[in-house]
Symmetry: C2
Subunit: 467 residues, 2 copies
């Protein structure tokens, strides 16, 4: 775990330069620096070298070269991860996939596109739109986050309710294995039951089983009409009752939840007005998209819900943006808030109301001066739990208690950010011993020497040196 | 590969009887018989014993007992598979999951249900309907096919276009590993990124990695309005052009393709009238379902397609059934046809027209007296290729040539029936050497002794005795 080049580093640099060109092997600490720390400045580690291959063949050659000298690799995409899975732990070669950013022509018949792992979400979204289609995943980091990284973490975002998370968009992929072999499943066939679903397995494996180099993505039709509503209700259970009534709407695209205490804080800090006249205990943000105007069908369902206290509808771009700004303001307020316990979790909807009150009780008891700020993608049970103003020395204890509380409510400790290194100590909260052993057996089968992203997901005995 | 009990069989029968009760350990050849042959009478093999556990704990105990004496297991559900993956190769213990047929109460909030692996598709469909929801997979064998078997083969059917295949319905599952350990992922959480996606990996693994015991399924809202159309077009390319225009319809639920030569044969053999006045070279069966009546939006799209020659619409149950009968009659005609090359394949839609003409040319050259009968789920590129009247001694050669032709057109040799033992010799047509090695590494990692369904997917060195 040292910043000094390991013995043999010069030889490795030379062999990597022969593969990718000397300008794409970075040994200089200043040039390496931006690759060695995550986007929020929390996790960092020294890379032995940073290497930037241009295509799949170069990635495979890099894997072989590192394997020959017994050095592990940390794959990195846009470096927007929040659990430390894409920055070095110390001593590994940092493998940046960003140059693999080619976007092939959209296959209009199939409604699919093949893209390099280094293509950003925004670039792929733009390419899809140019063919009057959409990539059905959206999230805030779209300008930096790469498709490869989003596959690695099985990224989520605001549209999972309707379209599923990243795994549901992946029709196939190409990846380099730990021995340098290449798996290519880019045919785009929706039904291809020849052996195991390696693409699905690699989604969410956080770079520990193979290096994803290209991805075949399904696209969805671009729907011309969109409406957004902000719905005020009296409590969390009523919000869930409204959600239940909304689910049969084929046009339902997003359902986000906010609470009044957090919304008031967001409005004050970010300076936003609510389109609703009064205050409500809980708010739902609902968005519908369709080929026809879905406003009437949405209004009809909401009008029939006795739990609905008030509704504001945004039909034009400005009206919709004003509603979304309230939701996006939550993430901004978390950053302004400083010291934060920041968790991304998911739980059964039937337990949400009970969990919420328990969580608030825990915070009030442990940290009476702290401010819990909850919001989330309620359509899929995904809650972002932030507690602002917790002294750094006590964030660990609070995290432990909240994650344990989550597990006790049947929740998962990671919804859309993955395990990385940040949550590896908590894996057993969500998985049985037999389950972890099965995952280890797969890891060992595909990467027996511990070549790929050591220390991610599995905690013990990781090293930048191969077995 | 003998019908005689192996040494130690009595001991094993006794230890299994202690687990499941003596009446659920079948050694008598007459009682074993129905488990030892597939539903079309093609594949068969002698089981050492048939064992019928009642729950997950009993399955785990059966696995441990067999492991102790070094005998492999063949898991079996409804025994409706068509590739021999669920019947013994010879000498294994046949593990019937049918008694695990419990259907838990539907979770209406989550839109999910947990069912035993032995529950039939029809029983789960009925349970979902009772809660005004649907399981979004449907196929002809619904009364016998079990959910566990459908997970094992990643079953498809007529609604994949809209809802995906079985894997897309599986929110989670419970399975017994080769060492008797139990993986339980039944929380129903839609976002649960804690390590690898074992449920997705087990879908389509055909019982070679673990024994699925319970499945958590997503349900979809039951849509009240349904319309079916039969669309006549002039050629295969025109059919694809119509399909392209239909895709943006959110209500599109099925798109099946039929050709006139096959349809005429079906009408003659099964005695059915077409609701269209004239003949057309190619037909699309299109079905839309929605909360509103989708007839107008379907008619609008079809009306704007210059490729459409004629349309017949079925709005009531009888009208819809008359159209579907033409499609289902194809499968029936195949059975009447006797000696048949029967393939289930999928290919990129852009290659469909070229493939079709090449295929017809191959059949005309090799088997001028045979009748090619094509039909399929065109929405997902899945074609059922049947060639009737091929002499038994030449079916192998024709199969080889057609599957190779498929692979050359970028197709897959298995769409929804799996590999089993029937297609294991063709796996390399669809997968690279590195890919197969990766699959083997996973198999070896999870089942190092070759305990589970030996001889399925991977051909070589399989045995009913453990390593």
């Amino acid at each position: 775990m040292s910043a000094l080049p390991a013995p043999g580093c010069d030889d490795l640099a030379a062999s990597l330069a022969a593969v990718v060109g000397a300008e794409h092997v970075l040994a200089d600490p200043e040039l390496r620096a931006s690759y060695e720390v995550d986007c929020v400045g929390v996790r960092r580690g020294d890379a032995l070298l940073v290497v930037r291959p241009a295509d799949t063949a170069e990635v495979a050659a890099v894997v072989v070269a590192c394997r020959e000298v017994g050095v592990a690799l940390v794959p990195q995409g846009g470096n927007t991860g929040l659990t430390g899975g894409g920055v070095p732990r110390g001593g590994e070669v940092l493998l940046s996939l960003r140059r693999l950013d080619r976007i092939e022509p959209v296959d209009v018949d199939a409604g699919q596109v093949t893209v390099g792992a280094g293509a950003t979400l925004a670039a792929v979204q733009a390419a899809a739109l140019a063919s009057d289609m959409e990539l059905a995943v959206d999230l805030g980091a779209r300008d930096q986050a790469t498709i490869g990284g989003m596959v690695g973490t099985n990224a989520g975002g605001t549209r999972v309710l309707r379209h599923g998370s990243m795994r549901a968009q992946v029709v196939g992929l190409e990846a380099v294995l730990a021995d340098g072999g290449v798996v290519e499943r880019l045919s785009g066939l929706l039904k291809d039951n020849v052996g195991y679903d390696l693409p699905g397995l690699l989604c969410g494996s956080e770079g520990t089983l193979a290096v994803v180099t290209r991805v075949r993505l399904r696209l969805v039709p671009r729907l011309s009409h969109r409406v957004t509503a902000l719905v005020g209700v009296g409590n969390t259970s009523d919000a869930l009752a409204v959600l239940r009534r909304l689910r049969p709407l084929a046009s339902l695209d997003a359902a986000e939840i906010m609470w009044d205490d957090a919304l008031a804080l967001v409005q004050e800090r970010v300076g936003l007005r609510s389109p609703l006249a009064g205050r409500h205990a809980v708010y739902l943000l609902v968005e519908c998209t369709a080929m026809h105007d879905p406003t009437d069908e949405l209004a009809q369902v909401l009008g029939a819900c006795s739990a609905v206290e008030d509704v504001a509808v945004g039909q034009d771009a400005a009206g919709r943006a004003a509603i979304w700004a309230l939701r996006h303001g939550h993430a901004e307020s978390v950053v302004i808030g400083g010291n934060t316990v920041k968790l991304d979790v998911t739980l059964p909807l039937g337990r949400l109301a009970a969990f919420e009150s328990r969580l608030r009780a825990v915070c009030a008891r442990r940290e009476p001066d702290a401010v819990p700020l909850l919001f989330g993608h309620v359509g899929d049970g995904n809650l972002h739990v932030n507690v602002l103003g917790v002294p750094p020395e006590r964030t660990g204890e609070l995290t432990d208690e909240v994650l344990t509380l989550f597990a006790a409510h049947g929740g998962s400790i990671s919804a859309e950010h993955g395990i990385g290194v940040a949550k590896r100590a908590y894996v057993r909260l969500g998985r049985s011993a037999a389950d972890v052993e099965a995952m280890r057996a797969i890891k060992h089968g595909l990467d027996p020497r511990g070549m790929l992203n050591p220390g991610v997901i599995f905690a013990e005995n990781h090293s930048s040196k191969l077995r």
